[in-house]
């Protein structure tokens, strides 16, 4: 099953994405193909490579976006692990964007309330920072058994298995090295 797949250029470190649609040349009439290309759903779109957000196989996916929405996603044919194939979850990654169930606004639920209220980012972030500070300051321990401990054991931070490396780095830096949390846990434990 010899497939002649167009080779893609090495992506320059500038981040320029030179990925074009890999065409499996099956030897059909090219002129006719070109004539119809305009109605083709991904015609002229430049895909962006990403890695599947689900399991840790780490398959490559190409994302085609147009008019500020994702119109199509497909396995990255140049990716050495999946070579263009995907499972059912990887295949439907497009709907992670298009699902109308995505939350798009910060929300707040007051104590005892039975509903969410939409709030502004600045307000929410300010409030969260204040809460963190209040709790930390009230519960902060500097010494334990004569040893400097600089910690709070009243705030926990959980999750992170779906974050990027850079995000996990900043998260553990902020929570542990900055805020002094000891309860730092994520999905690797469960």
């Amino acid at each position: 099953m010899e497939m002649n797949v167009t080779r893609r250029q090495f992506l320059k470190l500038s981040g320029a994405v030179a990925a074009t649609l890999a065409v499996v040349e099956l030897g059909f009439n090219e002129n006719e193909a070109k004539a119809k290309a305009n109605s083709f759903k991904i015609a002229g779109l430049k895909p962006t490579p990403t890695i599947c957000p689900y399991c840790a196989v780490g398959c490559g996916i190409l994302v085609y976006s147009k008019d500020n929405t994702v119109v199509y996603t497909e396995g990255d044919p140049d990716h050495p692990i999946n070579e263009g194939a995907l499972c059912s979850k990887g295949t439907t990654v497009r709907q992670v964007y298009t699902s109308d169930r995505r939350q798009e606004k910060p929300m707040y639920r007051a104590a005892g309330s039975s509903k969410w209220e939409e709030v502004e980012w600045d307000w929410a972030l300010d409030k969260v920072a204040q809460k963190m500070k209040e709790t930390r300051d009230r519960t902060f321990q500097t010494m334990e058994n004569g040893v400097t401990v600089n910690k709070t054991e009243a705030i926990a931070c959980m999750g992170g298995a779906a974050l990027d490396n850079e995000e996990t780095y900043l998260l553990s830096k902020l929570m542990r090295a900055g805020m002094g949390l000891t309860y730092i846990e994520h999905q690797a434990r469960i």
């Binding site: 090495f10 990403t50 890695i51 957000p53 689900y54 399991c55 840790a56 780490g58 994702v70 050495p80 692990i81 059912s88 439907t92 992670v96 169930r101 798009e104 929300m107 707040y108 639920r109 104590a111 005892g112 929410a124 972030l125 300010d126 969260v128 920072a129 963190m132 500070k133 709790t135 500097t142 334990e144 040893v147 401990v149 910690k151 054991e153 009243a154 705030i155 926990a156 959980m158 999750g159 992170g160 298995a161 779906a162 990027d164 490396n165 850079e166 995000e167 780095y169 998260l171 553990s172 830096k173 900055g178 805020m179 002094g180 730092i184 846990e185 999905q187 690797a188 434990r189 469960i190």
Partner: protein, 786 residues
């Protein structure tokens, strides 16, 4: 994973136990089927016949929680039939080491057990040393006190009849598995073991994995292409998030979190206590100091112990892991909780109780793409009374992985970059930005404080560009590390310093961002041989693709098999060369001291057949926390080193009330707690209903028909769902009695396009003796028609 996904194609036999890759890591089967096409065999060992089993050449059934019996029997078989790879075992494992006299084993317990503390004195499982401190060995493996002989004796109790009486495996099938996998013990052949949560989510999870590793060492499969012990990790970046210290007991790169013990009161004392005298970890001070420099920048100086005192210290022996965290929350010890894309109300053990615990919080922050069962735990739909719950909840919308850029690390340790394909949806933001904005606010709140207690947050460096959006490139540069003076990127962790002249946020990632740029962005898919793709992205450590690959060569440095060449010793160049980066000092010749220490990261340089984890140096079979039969191997029922948590969080069920073994699992079409997938139409369509899988025999006994609604109860809760009566589940015919088992997916909750009751309302709040991973995979229940 010691190896990686593409490498699976080189295996002669893959034993899949405690994993279901066809469903949970489907693309692995692209490579497994390539191996099968070349004559390789696939073995599937699972309590039920899965989609993996259908693609396997041999399917063996076992009762949930009997893995050690199963594997112990295989070790016994390999030793009895002499199928093990003797030269490998002598050269690369500690089989020849003489064990200290203190070691003993009797009726399920090793020496030095403290029943009150439910723990052992691990130092009592030591090797005998000569006056110079060198370990005594018997390279003939005949000394009755050598590891090999002790191991042989230990597993001689695991004869086939006893084993299958515990596991319920059909004898013919068991022997076929033993013979087939045993064939990989031949020099030049390789077999791989693939496992996942089916292995780890047990009270003996660590020992399950240990015994896989022991079998692989015996058969000479570790370090081989197509070999290894491969954990199939379930989340896209669970590898990275573990590498980056998001567990209470590790900082970045698997180094210790300081504790408030007197020895660790100073940085010097901390390093002394935690740095081994031999093996690569001797370099730990370089890595730790560089991390502290990354954390505190110029505020970390030799004078202030590089900011060591700013780091929080754990209370010695205190367990802060997930279940204990929820115990503390339930007990009202926690005020606030921040969650980044996690959903314990569906995914946590004894989820009903964990949900209750949340209501004791004063405030909670959920950063997620979706409104999850956890962020909405206070709603009536969750069975809560909102008026009674005083927790303030903040929901911060995060954007999806392709709406931002950054890298993730797959199970094979490949660090791959993801580019931004589209702007974040609506007002959602990248987690990086959310964390950044929080950090900026916190630093601002503390900037004028003069309290000593506030020094850590003030000292923490946070220089990721101006404005609200952090410059990810600066974060990447800091993770890799650079010279504090020249600001030049460090090319490899070997160049890190312990004098504060270098920083590196995570030493195992040092080398991914050199002066050449960010290597995780590389997309050159040229295969230089054996499918290692060295110029595709970057793998930690040092771009090595197969861990322990020195062991793919014989002691004199030549491959065990020409077909399976990854690295070898080039005597002319006096270098280890090949199509992978050698996991070995690149110029250490085979014939010099340490030249055959294939596992050079370890203090002894040898693979540990004998290694002290919390419940003993050799894995021993114990029954799950809840189980319907007695332990045939000893009078010790439960793993003696397992700790109990808060009693209220962990009601125990007895076999007389709950006679059926149950397990949870995942299916191909949903992911984890379902927050991602049950909010999408197409995946919701593929799997829309919560179901309970059971055998035709059990269904008949209980008067249940396929598609009936049934209720499953455990000591902790109940779940209603459809019955899926199938030939793929069979009762386990054990020596003592026949035991029924059922299984169910744990993806469902009450939010989303498709909903269903949450399986984890049934699971126990108890976990492994080392990792405290909960025992989701074996518990007791009963089932009836709804």
């Amino acid at each position: 994973m010691t190896n990686h996904w593409n490498d699976l194609q080189h295996t002669d036999c893959a034993m899949i136990i405690g994993a279901n890759p066809a469903e949970n890591h489907p693309i692995s089967f692209k490579w497994l089927l390539k191996a099968k096409g070349k004559g390789g065999k696939i073995i599937s060992v699972d309590p039920r016949y899965t989609r993996t089993s259908q693609q396997a050449d041999i399917y063996g059934s076992l009762r949930s929680g009997s893995d050690i019996a199963f594997m112990g029997g295989l070790i016994n078989y390999m030793l009895e039939k002499e199928l093990y790879h003797k030269e490998y075992v002598i050269a690369y494992t500690n089989a020849s080491f003489i064990v200290d006299e203190k070691y003993s084993f009797e009726d399920g317990l090793f020496n030095s057990y403290d029943e009150a503390k439910r723990s052992y004195d691990k130092t009592s499982w030591a090797f005998k040393k000569d006056e110079e401190g060198k370990i005594l060995k018997d390279l003939t493996l005949e000394d009755p006190r050598c590891v090999f002989q002790l191991m042989k004796k230990h597993y001689s109790r695991y004869d086939v009849e006893t084993v299958i009486g515990v596991t319920g495996t059909d004898k013919k099938t068991y022997l076929e598995i033993a013979k087939t996998f045993g064939a990989t013990g031949k020099p030049g052949k390789s077999g791989t073991i693939l496992y996942a949560m089916g292995a780890t989510q047990h009270t003996v999870g660590t020992q399950n994995v240990r015994i896989y590793a022991m079998l692989q060492l015996l058969l000479g499969n570790v370090g081989m292409p197509g070999g290894g012990v491969n954990a199939l990790r379930g989340e896209s970046n669970v590898q990275g998030s573990t590498d980056f210290g998001l567990l209470y007991h590790n900082v970045n790169g698997y180094m210790e979190v300081p504790t408030a013990s007197p020895e660790e009161a100073t940085y010097k004392g901390f390093l002394e206590k935690n740095t081994p005298k031999s093996g690569y970890w001797r370099n730990k001070p370089k890595f730790y100091t560089s991390m502290l420099k990354a954390y505190y920048g110029n505020n970390a100086t030799a004078q202030n112990e590089f900011g060591y005192q700013y780091m929080p210290k754990l209370t010695p022996k205190k367990d802060y892991s997930h279940m204990r965290l929820f115990d503390a929350m339930y007990a009202g010890e926690l005020e606030g909780l921040l969650m980044f894309g996690t959903n314990p109300v569906v995914g946590g053990p004894n989820a009903g109780k964990e949900k209750e615990a949340l209501s004791k919080l004063k405030w909670m922050v959920a950063v997620d793409l979706w409104e999850t069962e956890t962020s909405a735990f206070w709603q009536e739909g969750a069975g809560s009374k909102p008026a009674d719950i005083q927790t303030e909840v903040f929901f911060l919308p995060a954007c999806a992985s392709f709406e931002k850029e950054g890298s993730i690390t797959n199970s094979g340790r490949w660090m791959q970059y993801r580019w931004q394909a589209i702007q974040p949806k609506g007002e959602s933001k990248a987690d990086l930005e959310i964390i950044h904005l929080l950090a900026l606010r916190l630093k601002e709140l503390y900037q004028n404080s003069t309290k000593p207690a506030d020094t850590p947050i003030k000292a923490m460096s946070w220089d990721y560009g101006h404005g609200n959006h952090p410059d990810i490139d600066l974060v990447c540069r800091e993770i890799n590390g650079y010279d504090m003076n020249t600001k030049k990127q460090i090319s490899l962790f070997a160049n890190l310093k312990d004098d504060g002249s270098t920083c590196s946020g995570n030493w195992i990632y040092c080398g991914f961002y050199t002066e050449e740029g960010n290597l995780s962005k590389r997309r050159d898919h040229t295969d230089e041989g054996m499918g290692n793709f060295l110029n595709w992205s970057w793998a930690w450590p040092a771009n090595r693709r197969i861990l322990g690959n020195r062991a793919s060569c014989n002691p004199s440095g030549q491959p065990w098999s020409k077909d399976k060449t990854v690295v070898y010793w080039d005597a002319a160049k006096r270098l280890w060369v090949g199509n992978d980066v050698a996991d070995f000092p690149k110029d250490r010749a085979p014939d010099i001291e340490g030249g055959t220490d294939a596992f050079f990261m370890l203090p002894t340089g040898k693979g540990g057949l004998f290694a002290g984890v919390n419940e003993g140096p050799f894995p021993e079979h114990y029954e799950p926390y809840e189980n319907p039969v007695s332990n045939v191997f000893s009078n010790i029922q439960l793993n003696p080193a397992v700790k109990y948590g808060l009693e209220e969080m962990n009601a125990k069920g007895e076999a007389k009330d709950f006679p059926i073994v149950a397990t949870t699992y995942r299916i191909s079409e949903h992911w984890q707690s379902g927050a991602m997938t049950r909010n999408q139409p197409w995946l919701s369509e593929l799997a829309s209903h919560m179901f309970i899988e059971m055998s035709e025999e059990l269904a008949k006994e209980k008067g249940i028909k396929n598609k009936d609604k049934v209720i499953v109860t455990s000591a902790r809760g109940k779940v209603e769902a459809y019955a899926l009566v199938t030939k793929r589940f069979k009762p386990h015919k054990l020596k003592e009695k026949t035991v029924h088992q059922i299984g169910m997916p744990w993806h469902f909750g009450y939010k989303g396009i498709v909903t269903g009751e949450t399986a984890n309302r049934l699971t126990p709040h108890i976990g492994d003796a080392n990792t405290t991973i909960p025992e989701y995979k074996a518990f007791l229940c009963d089932v009836r028609r709804a």
